[in-house]
């Protein structure tokens, strides 16, 4: 088995759910992110903060999961805020044009809605 760091945690800040992810989000781990996002949305939360400050890698599968969750949030009148500072991770949002789709912040404080 290949060791791959991935951790996901759900918190709440000022009544807004914050999903904190650490490690690598790829085809192997993205299903856990999808499940967590779906679960939080199913609990009636239309607005979510996705904290990617501890993420060292993400691929198109991860982006696909985030786009799917963003659509569900917006259908419910909410938003999916992304918090990211790592240049490599921001670059992936930029080259796919998703930096213009997601509200992206560089800290949790700035993402608070």
């Amino acid at each position: 088995m290949v060791e791959q760091h991935f951790q996901i945690e759900e918190r709440s800040a000022n009544g807004v759910p914050v999903i904190l992810v650490e490690g690598e989000i790829d085809v192997a781990t993205a299903p856990q992110l999808r499940e967590c996002l779906h679960s939080v949305i199913a609990q009636g939360n239309a607005t979510i903060v996705l904290d990617l400050l501890g993420v060292s890698f993400l691929d198109s599968t991860a982006l696909g999961v985030m786009v799917g969750a963003l659509k569900r949030c917006r259908e419910l009148g909410g938003e999916l805020h992304v918090v990211v500072t790592e240049t490599r991770i921001k670059k992936i949002f930029e080259i796919t044009g998703l930096d213009r789709v997601f509200p992206i912040s560089d800290s949790l404080d700035r993402a608070k809605v």
Partner: protein
């Protein structure tokens, strides 16, 4: 003179014409292997850290594209790395897997488009072919600096 070429070649570099192959069961949890090997090979082929990170991400996307639309339960992914004077060529072939029985989902199609966008931004050339039970995705990335 003419010593053993294995002993005279620098041990930490890959030179022009060198080829490396990696094969593993076509499982998503093993794609990390492809990325790890890509980092090691790219560094030894003289790519800088930024290029290396680009290649690591791009190879993950190659694997995803090769896996798209196939029943991956029984296949193998085979990666081939070839180092040339100014570039590296990497191909990823899914072998021994039957075409998927179910149609691609909207999520799958979206992820595929994202893969294509990522590859277009990170490498100089890329493409893919599908033939019966075999799907192949490939890329070429040119080195900014001199060869190792």
């Amino acid at each position: 003179m003419g010593g053993d070429p294995l002993l005279s070649a620098p041990s930490d570099t890959l030179g022009v014409g060198d080829r490396v192959e990696l094969a593993f069961p076509a499982r998503g949890d093993l794609v990390v292997l492809a990325r790890l090997v890509t980092s090691a090979i790219s560094a030894r082929a003289g790519f800088d850290i930024e290029e290396l990170e680009d290649l690591r991400l791009a190879v993950g996307e190659l694997c995803l594209l090769a896996l798209q639309g196939s029943d991956r339960r029984h296949g193998d992914l085979r990666l081939e790395f070839r180092v040339s004077t100014d570039s590296i060529d990497i191909s990823c072939t899914l072998e021994g897997a039957a075409p998927a029985l179910t149609a691609r989902t909207a999520d799958g199609l979206e992820a595929e488009q994202l893969s294509e966008q990522i590859l277009s931004a990170l490498v100089d050339e890329h493409g893919r072919e599908q033939q019966d039970a075999s799907a192949r995705a490939w890329l070429r990335k040119r080195r900014k600096g001199p060869a190792a």
